[in-house]
Amino acid sequence: MKSRLRRLDTTALVYLALIGVLIIGAVLIATTGRNFFSPGNIRDILTGMSVLGFVAIGQTLVILGASLDLSVPYVMSLASLVAAQTMSGDDAMVVPAVLLTLVVTAGIGLANGLIVTVLGVHGFVATLGVGLMLKGYLDTTYQGTEGSVPWSFQLFGATGIGPVPISTFIMLALAGLVAFILVRTRFGHHLFAVGGNSEVARLSGVRQRLPLIGAHIGSSVCAGLAGLLLASRLGVGSPTVGSQGSYDLLSIAAVVLGGTVLMGGRGSIWGTIGGVAIFAVLDNLMSVMQFNPFLKDVIRGLVIIIALALYARRRVIARRVRFTRSPTDSTTAAGPAPDRNPAPDHERSQG
C-alpha cells in the first residue's frame, strides 16, 4: 500500500509539473491576447502529443527493460512508406496496409530484441546500428515522398471529436492497454523484473530474453503506429519524416521526464504521457510566443535538466528512507551509477 502511494507520487509529480507548465502557458499566452484553451490551440497541443506519444509509449517499454531504442525515427519513416505505398490511394487496401506495416515493424523490433538479447549487444549500439541500416535502405530505395494515403485513412490524423484529434484517443487507448499489460500480466512483471535487476530476475526463474524481446517488438510497433499517423497526416509516405523530428532523443527525454528510470525497472506509462504533454505544451507555448527557433532548443534543454534535477532530488530522499529500512537492498542492487535506485521490490513482487 505504502509503495503504491510512492509510485503515485512520482507520476503525480509529473502531472504537477504539467499543471505548472499549463498555468504558465495560459498566463503567458493570455498576455498576447490569445486564449490558451481555445479549440485550435488545444488541437495544436494534442496533435503535437500524439506522434511523440506513440513513440514514447514504446520507448517506455524498452527503457523499463533497461535497454534503449534509437532506431525509432527510421522505423517511423519506413512505416509511413510501407503504409502509403501499399494503400496507394485505395480505400480497400487500408486494412492490409496497416497490418503489413505492423508486421514489418514488429520484424524490426524482433531483430532489435534478438541482437540485444542473443548477441548480447547493448541496446544503444544495437538500435543505433539497426537504425543506420534502415537509414541506408531508405536513402537507397526512396528518393523522396512516395505512395499516397486514401482519404478514409487521412481521417485518422485529420478528424477529431471537438478539439480532440482521433489520434489522441487512439494514443491514450494504447497507453491504457500497455499500462494494463505492464501492471497485470506476466510479461509486464517480468519486464520490470528484468529491467530492475536482471540477475535477480534470472535467479528467481524469470526468462530474461523474452520480456526484453517483447519490449523491443512493442517499441518498434509503437513507432510503426506513429509512422502510420504521420502517413495519415502527410497523405504520403516520407523517408525523412521520422528523422525530421529527432523522435529518438525526444522520446527518451519524454520518458525520463515522465519519471521512468533510465536504467530500467521503474516507471510508468502514464508518467510518460505526462512527460510528452509537458513537451507538447512547452512547444505550443514557444510557438505562440513566436520564440526564435534556436532559443526554443535552449529552453528545451534547460527544462529537461531542471525538471529532472527536481525529480531526482526527490527520489534521492525517497531512497534514503529505503536505505534505513532495508540495508540489504543497497548491496544487492549496487550498480555502476550512483543515481541508480535499488529496484523497488513492490514492482517485482507483483510478478
Binding site: N41, Q143, S148
Partner: protein
C-alpha cells in the same frame, strides 16, 4: 466524403469514433476536391522530368519583366492573375508558416524578409506578421498551418513548404479560408495559392553548373559531386539535370552526400585526390565549398574547375585563388517578394500565378562587383540577398540579427 467515411468505418477499432466524429469534425479539415490532391498516383521514382527541364532550360534565356533596379519584383514569362476579390483597405495581418531557418541561406533570407516587413509596417500596409517555424518538420508545419487557420485571425497566409507532397493538403485547407495564400521557395502540388514565388528552379541550377564545367573540362575528365542529402526535391533536381548533362558529355562523375559538413567534404575530396586527379568540383549547395578547395591546396594539386554557390565564403576564396569557377544562385531575394506580393494582392493589383524570379549565376566578370557590394558581411551571407535598399542595410546583415 461519404464514401471515404464508409470505408473508414471499416477500420475496426476506430470505426465508431470516426462515425461520431462525422458530426463534430474539425470544420477546416475536408477531403480534397474530387479525386485530386492526395489521391494522385505515386510520384515517379526518378527526379528527372524532361518537360520541366525543357521549360527551365528556356526560362534561363528569358529577359525578365519588371524594374531593373528591383530584381525581387522581376518576373519571367508571367501569366497575370486577377486579385480584385482580395482588394481591401487597411493594415493586414499576415501569417507565415516557415519550414525552418536551419541553414545560412534560410537565415539570410529570413533577415531580409524581416527588414522588408519593417518597411511595410511603416507604410501601414501590414500591421503584423505572425510566424511559426516548423524546424524542418513536415508534421509540425501541418499543425502550424492548421493553427493559423483556427486561431491566427490571419488576413493572408505565406507558406514556405518544408516538402512538396506532404504540405499540399494543409495548403489546400488554407486556400479554403478564401484568404490569399502565397507560397514561396519549394512548391506544392496544388495551384490554389494566389501566387507561387520561386526562382527558375533546380534544373536550371543543374544546367548552368554542369554546362559551365563541361565547357571548361574535356571528355574523360573527372568531377566530384558534393551533395547535401538525398530525397529533398530542390536538391535532387539540381543533381538530376547535372548528372544527365555530365553523362551526355562523357564526363566521369562520382557523387557523395556530405551534409554540407566541411570536415566530411574535405575527407571525401582528399580521398578522391589520393585515388587520382580530379578536374572539377560540382556542388548542389555551396556549404563547405571552401574546404573542398583547401583539400586541393593541402594535397598540392592544381585548383579544379568548380561550381559552388553565392555564399560569401566561396566568393572570397574564389577571388583569392583566381580559380575557374561559377557561383550559381538559388535566388535569396525571393524572401522579400512574398510580402510585396501580399501588398499588391490587397491593393487588387494583378500578380503572376507563378512568379518566377530571375536566377542568374555570378560569373567571373560579376565577382568583384558582388564582393564589393557585400563588403563586411559574414562568410555565411549570400551575395544576391537583394536587401541593399532596405533601411537596416548593412548592419542588420553584418550583425546577423535573427528575430
Amino acid at each position: 466524403m461519404r464514401r471515404g467515411l464508409r470505408s473508414a468505418i471499416g477500420i475496426a477499432s476506430a470505426g465508431a469514433l470516426i462515425a461520431l466524429a462525422g458530426c463534430t469534425t474539425d470544420p477546416s479539415v475536408e477531403p480534397a476536391e474530387g479525386d485530386g490532391g492526395a489521391q494522385e498516383e505515386a510520384p515517379a521514382e526518378e527526379w528527372f522530368d524532361q518537360e520541366v527541364y525543357d521549360k527551365q532550360f528556356k526560362q534561363r534565356e528569358v529577359e525578365p519583366e519588371g524594374p531593373d533596379d528591383k530584381p525581387y519584383l522581376q518576373m519571367i514569362n508571367p501569366e497575370m492573375k486577377d486579385t480584385s476579390e482580395f482588394k481591401s483597405e487597411g493594415g493586414k495581418k499576415m501569417c507565415f508558416a516557415n519550414a525552418s531557418i536551419s541553414n545560412p541561406w534560410r537565415q539570410t533570407g529570413w533577415i531580409t524578409m524581416n527588414e522588408q516587413l519593417k518597411e511595410l509596417k511603416k507604410n501601414g500596409v501590414i500591421t503584423e506578421m505572425e510566424t511559426r517555424d516548423a524546424q524542418d518538420n513536415d508534421d509540425t508545419q501541418i499543425a502550424d498551418i492548421d493553427y493559423f487557420i483556427a486561431e491566427g485571425n490571419c488576413d493572408g497566409f505565406i507558406i514556405s513548404p518544408n516538402s512538396t507532397a506532404a504540405i499540399t493538403p494543409a495548403v489546400e485547407r488554407a486556400c479554403k479560408t478564401d484568404k490569399p495564400v502565397i507560397v514561396f521557395d519549394r512548391g506544392v502540388e496544388t495551384d490554389c495559392a494566389v501566387t507561387f514565388i520561386h526562382p527558375i528552379g533546380g534544373f536550371a541550377w543543374g544546367i548552368d553548373t554542369a554546362q559551365f564545367l563541361i565547357d571548361n573540362l574535356k571528355e574523360g575528365d573527372k568531377v566530384v559531386a558534393l551533395r547535401i542529402l538525398p530525397g529533398v526535391d530542390v536538391l535532387e533536381q539540381r543533381w538530376a539535370a547535372a548528372d544527365k548533362l555530365f553523362s551526355e558529355a562523357g564526363i566521369e562523375v562520382v557523387d557523395y552526400f556530405a551534409e554540407g559538413d566541411p570536415a566530411e567534404i574535405k575527407k571525401v575530396v582528399s580521398d578522391e585526390l589520393a585515388k587520382g586527379d580530379v578536374q572539377g568540383i560540382w556542388m548542389d549547395a555551396g556549404d563547405g565549398a571552401v574546404s573542398a578547395i583547401e583539400a586541393f591546396e593541402d594535397a598540392g594539386k592544381d585548383y579544379p574547375v568548380m561550381t559552388g554557390e553565392d555564399e560569401l565564403s566561396f566568393l572570397r576564396k574564389w577571388k583569392e585563388t583566381e580559380m575557374t569557377a561559377l557561383a550559381p544562385v538559388y535566388t535569396n531575394f525571393q524572401w522579400r517578394t512574398p510580402l510585396l506580393a501580399a501588398e499588391k494582392i490587397f491593393q487588387g493589383e494583378e500578380v503572376p500565378s507563378e512568379w518566377v524570379l530571375p536566377q542568374s549565376p555570378i560569373t567571373a566578370e560579376d565577382l568583384d562587383e558582388y564582393l564589393e557590394r557585400n563588403e563586411g558581411m559574414p562568410d555565411g551571407h549570400y551575395a544576391k540577398f537583394g536587401g541593399e535598399d532596405l533601411p537596416g542595410f548593412p548592419e542588420v546583415w553584418q550583425e546577423r540579427v535573427i528575430p
